[in-house]
Amino acid sequence: MKFAIVVFPGSNCDHDTYHVAKDVLGQEAELIWHKDRSLNRADVVILPGGFAHGDYLRTGAIARFSPIMHEVSKFAAAGGPVLGICNGFQVLLEAGLLPGAMLRNRSLKFRCEFLHVKVEQTDTPFTLACRPGQNLRMPIAHGDGNYYAEPDVVARLERNRQVIFRYVSAAGEVTDESNPNGSANNIAGICNETRNVVGLMPHPERACELAVGSADGLSVFKSILKWGRESFVEDTLTTMTAEPSTVLNK
């Protein structure tokens, strides 16, 4: 599969993500500058962490108007898998590709630490290889990760099973102590209604090798590969079954 990793001025997890795609997973990967106007036929798009445009105005507020975001929106509308990590999640929120917004952490502190995140749903391209309820140990590093949406929007996310990741304790319990930033319902990550766009605050790309403290984030990246294989089989089957009638009609 080919990974496109978008680079904004101020992105700083772009190379970590590239390293995981290229070296850990052995896949094709390309860094795409935010002013480019093509995703170069990528199969999956990742908006990495960092501080795009210095977080000026609001996190992600300037980045959403970068030329490449038009292509990312088109790619997402066509069903392509898009993952926003940390600042990438904030960009997706500002772009309206995911609902809600980020507020300053309730502690006002920049939180940089390992914590636990529960996989709530496995029917997205980024959680397909996870076990339902799997507890992933991954780091966070953000000052604005306090997920907010109007109560009816949060209720709708829960109803539609769009909450994909939730902050939990080491034992997997949803508690206020395990919520690092004050996010509504301990939300750490969500997806859109069509489930192909996912955003999360924790950094799976910083937890893909035991040498860096955890390899739990690999589940997220392996999910993409599994999704790729399954959608390839599905496409092939569709083509194979569609072919005879297509031929007859000619």
Binding site: F65, L93, A101, R106, L108, Y148
Partner: protein, 80 residues
């Protein structure tokens, strides 16, 4: 023309920064300060024929970029 845009968090949205500033003011002895809401302030110098046109443009800018309607609201003042 100058348009001044005041962006603040909606009343329903908790403002951790404002709350912290209020607590600091209490520490300084300003007990009568009941609440603080922190926001952003922009001065837009606009080439516009009249105040209405300047206001319209500032409002569009606030909707599209200066504020995030999910969490913020804004107020505009136009001066010549």
């Amino acid at each position: 023309m100058q348009a001044r845009v005041f962006v603040t968090l909606k009343p329903s949205v908790f403002d951790p920064q404002g709350t912290t500033v209020a607590e600091a003011l209490h520490t300084l002895g300003y007990e009568t300060v009941r609440d603080v809401r922190q926001g952003k302030y922009f001065e837009l110098e606009i080439d516009a024929a009249n105040a209405d046109e300047a206001r319209r443009l500032a409002s569009e800018a606030a909707d599209r970029l200066l504020s995030n309607p999910v969490i913020e609201s804004y107020r505009i003042e136009v001066t010549s």
